[in-house]
Amino acid sequence: MSKLVHPFENLDARGLLCPMPVIKVQDRIADLRPGAVLDVLATDPGTLADVPAWCRVHGHEILEMVQAHHEIRIRIKVN
């Protein structure tokens, strides 16, 4: 049986306009430990550029980015 090492954290940033989703990601990650995985839901297309850019400058890893039906899901591994 697989063991859940890092439970996924969730952040709902739908309806928020950039840079608010980035600020929410930043504030949430400040409380997470390295290795944690954060799933972000957003609607502003700006998050597709801004969240990865913020992650790059802070050294976090984008595991996945999916856009479907006006919704964006970004999975981040905290480093």
Binding site: L17, I23, T43, D44, P45, A49, D50, A53, V57, H58
Partner: protein
Amino acid sequence: MNDPKKAVALISGGLDSMLAAKVVMDQGVHVEGINFFTGFCVEGHTHAIRSRKGGGPRGPKPKRNNALWVAEQLGIKLHIIDVIEEYKKVLLNPKHGYGQHLNPCLDCKVFMVRKALAWGFMAEHGFDFIITGEVIGQRPKSQRKATMPIIAKESGADDRLLRPLCAQNLPSTLPEREGWVDRDALFGFHGRSRKPQIELAKRLGFTAWAQPAGGCCFLTDAQYSRKLTDLWSAQGRKDYELDDIMLLKVGRHIRPASHFKLIVSREEGENRYLEGYRRRFLNLRPISHAGPLCLVDGHPQPTDVELAARVVARYSQGREAAAVTVAAEDPHAGCRELTVAPLAPAELPSAWHV
């Protein structure tokens, strides 16, 4: 060996703050960026407003947050701070007044340096000084020789505030006196010319930088300031919520009377943006012809709704038609259809355009 000294750089996304940070980084100082979201910033949240073509009210622009882009160019961390609520005090009652429009630049600078200081000097952050990209004489109101000490003093940063681009024209600061940075390797830029900055950028190896039209925020924009003044006079008090100031960035604002205003989208991107507000505002949209979404802000009377429908018809593809059918959706009272004659241009006084 001593740990390197640490500086917080105010990063607006423009060239000057990028250069100021780089000059200090090149002296071996650990620099991190800080950027404040006041609600009036030109970039970031305007992504959602732009149409798919990449155009928008201010023309085509790359879809990026310039402050983050600068941080990437510099290879530094950037901390973005939400100051929407606190900023109200700065904008609504600026001690030093406004600039050409509703930009309270001097108070704004004091506020931002004070915030950067409070953030950077928190025990867990442990920064030693603050950097800004200010240049004496660059801006007529806020960046003058006389305003430099005001910002340093009123922010509480005093001589821990370093302006690397014009430091040689100012009294030496703590980082210079302590030898954390070499004053001789800083600059003495002054005046409105951008040439020295552009030359320095090239010398430092930058090939691109953002040149935000109209500066870092909407408050320097004449039309935006007019809409904000209109909002305050219509509500009878100087105040705002985030949604108010966001909606001022979008669409044609048409005020037929003090008790209501129409916000009519001008293109597909604005249409999508206004969609997000449909559940909170009475909204109209032509259904017999293609046309814009319109929000009605305020307290419209039933006859006002008919006028609003005629305005919407006037901006629809049925503007030449005898009649256009418009759906009016009230979030509390449901949807109804109105068939109206599009307003003739002469019936739409220019004074209604905010």
